[in-house]
């Protein structure tokens, strides 16, 4: 593992960039809440777990990361910038008219983006196909896919999970960014998900339940996979993590930052 301090600092830089991009998007706003909840997951994956080479982005043996909860693209872009897939100049174009970097990602392998997200649950189904193909080709890589807890409302999530275990995709890890909020409010009130880990288990997954902002736990979970089953990590997170007025606030599913709010949010990143 890259040392803890490195990943911690990387997380902080990603968080600051998310805030900066949200502020610069102005009235158009951005999905800051669901971006911030995924920061440590992405930092740990890209900083220490995934095998990739930015100079050989089409390498067949690369690990695949598929962002199924597409609205966290702002966090993915900020992470890809940290590891060198995107330049600052490119990402400065976030939510500028005509830019390829907007609220959801658009597949571009040269930039390290595997999937065009936005319509929930489509990424998970796609990831099952990628893992199936990689397994068929005898590759030794691993496929990681990030879904949201709200996303698990979609029926296709369960079709995908069932097929992942049916095809015994031991090369697939599903991470749930379980931040407990979705567009209309608390996910427990909209569609109860308290038994989500049990559901994953009963669908044939090896499940770990961890605190999703703890880099050590994340790393440990990624590096101690059950090799006999598809794996799932239910990462308990906080929507809007790290910004006092955004944490657990449904209004930050998608929102705009004023200059005062931006300054306050930045001052909290210590």
């Amino acid at each position: 593992m890259q040392n803890y301090d490195y990943l911690k600092e990387m997380s902080q830089r990603i968080r600051l960039r998310i805030l900066e991009l949200t502020y610069s998007a102005g009235k158009s706003g951005a999905h800051a809440g669901g971006g911030l909840s995924a920061v440590e997951i992405l930092a740990t994956l890209y900083g220490s777990v995934l095998k990739y080479d930015i100079n050989n982005p089409l390498d067949k043996n690369r690990d695949r990361f598929i962002l199924s909860k597409g609205h966290s693209a702002i966090a993915l872009f900020s992470t890809l910038e940290q590891v060198g897939f995107l330049t600052k100049e490119e990402l400065d174009q976030f939510e500028v008219n005509g830019s390829p970097f907007y609220a959801h990602s658009s597949r571009n392998l040269l930039k390290g983006i595997e999937f065009s997200g936005g319509s929930l649950s489509l990424g998970l189904s796609f990831a099952v196909g990628v893992a199936l193909a990689n397994k068929k080709d005898g590759l030794s890589n691993h496929v990681y896919v990030l879904v949201g807890d709200g996303e698990c409302d979609e029926g296709l999530v369960w079709e995908s999970l069932m097929s992942a275990s049916h095809f015994n995709l031991t090369n697939l890890t599903v991470i749930v960014d379980f931040n407990g909020l979705q567009s209309d409010g608390y996910s427990s009130e909209i569609m109860n998900k308290s038994s989500l880990p049990d559901k994953f288990r009963s669908f044939g997954f090896s499940v770990k339940e961890i605190e999703g902002h703890d880099i050590n736990l994340l790393y440990e979970s990624f590096s101690s996979k059950d090799l006999s089953k598809p794996n799932a990590i239910i990462a308990s997170t906080i929507k809007g993590k790290g910004v006092s007025f955004m944490e657990n606030n449904v209004n930050w599913h998608h929102g705009s930052l004023s200059l005062d709010q931006y300054n306050l949010a930045v001052s909290e990143q210590k």
Binding site: Y102, G118, S119, E151, G155, M191
Partner: protein, 322 residues
């Protein structure tokens, strides 16, 4: 019945099509249908349903982000004799739930009003996954489904009232965001299947739907300055299509259709299907999204990219007229 006048037209505009439909129209409907059930798939806040949810919690169900289940549950409730409104973003209610709409609303004739919010390019920076430029095409392919695409916020509320009254499955396509343009400042009778003449003219007839009625009116003013007289018709109902009005306008030298939708399968296609078997009608210029995905950006940028702003509409019409 929701009435339009100069003052409330401005209020409706501020609320947008969806805000007016669910924040005002729905409350009018309750006076006549107090037992209505409203379902949403995690989209009640953007739809403007907060007030309804708070006032009538027993009449509202959120099914989560599950559009297929949304229509299935709606159909089951409707089968027990209740009026049901189901709403989600237009892209997902039309595409993710397509088979459910075909089976339950089309084949089983479930009396549901399905409302797609934020159609066309309303979700600007969310990108192509969230644009709905295909919904009219696929909904049109379902036998027996009534399809309404309101031109302004007041009309959206009127459309819902009419849709609830007719005891038949209806898809309503809401467009635009907040502060949507006003087409009607005075009250008028809204009738499903009866297009509205919004401006008269001799040379060209523009048939527009949804957000494009206002833009077509503005394009018409620009054409006027170039010496071309244009009639503008608000084709708020895509199905059943008002073919009588097509025949009535047959003395025009050119027909034009304008829609914030793919040129494949929407209003332009519906009109051309009628023209194909009626030799006395003029040629049709179809304006809309030219069968392509778009580069995301703000709403105006997207309309401009697809040549749907008034200046470019006028330019394209003029170029095809001379």
């Amino acid at each position: 019945m929701v009435e339009v006048n100069k003052l409330n037209a401005r209020i409706f505009s501020k609320l947008g099509q969806s805000g007016t439909t669910f924040g005002i129209g729905l409350f009018e409907i309750l006076k006549k249908h107090p037992e209505i059930i409203v379902l949403s798939s995690d989209m009640s806040r953007p739809a403007g349903l907060d007030r309804f949810k708070t006032m009538y919690p027993d009449m509202f169900y959120n099914v989560g982000i599950a559009e297929q289940n949304l229509i299935g549950i709606a159909s089951g409730i409707a089968s027990e004799g209740k009026k049901v409104i189901a709403t989600a973003q237009a892209a997902f209610i039309s595409m993710r739930s397509f088979e459910q709409i075909r089976q339950y609303m089309g084949y089983m004739k479930s009396d549901i009003v399905a409302i797609g919010i934020s159609s066309g390019f309303a979700l600007n920076f969310f990108g192509n996954s969230h644009y709905a430029i295909e919904d009219l095409a696929i909904m049109r392919s379902i036998p027996g489904l009534t399809i309404i695409s309101p031109s302004d916020a007041g009309q959206a509320a009127k459309a819902l009232e009419s849709a609830i009254d007719i005891d038949a499955p209806v898809y309503i396509r809401l467009s635009g965001t907040l502060n949507c343009p006003i087409v009607y400042k005075n009250d008028y009778k809204f009738e499903i299947g009866k297009a509205k003449l919004v401006k008269d003219g001799n040379d060209i007839t523009i048939f527009a739907t949804g957000s494009m009625v206002y833009n077509s009116l503005q394009a018409s003013d620009l054409l006027e300055k170039k010496g071309v007289s244009t009639r503008v018709i608000d084709m708020h109902t895509l199905k059943p299509l008002d073919t009588d009005i097509l025949v009535k306008c047959s003395s025009s030298n050119l027909f034009v259709s304008v829609e914030e939708h793919n040129i494949v399968g929407g209003l332009g296609t519906a009109i051309s299907e009628f023209i194909a078997s009626n030799r006395d009608l003029p040629q049709l210029l179809r304006l809309g999204v030219m069968d392509t995905f778009s580069y995301p950006g703000d709403y105006t940028y997207l309309l401009e990219q697809n040549r749907l702003i008034p200046q470019l509409l006028a330019e394209d019409i003029l170029n095809n007229y001379k």
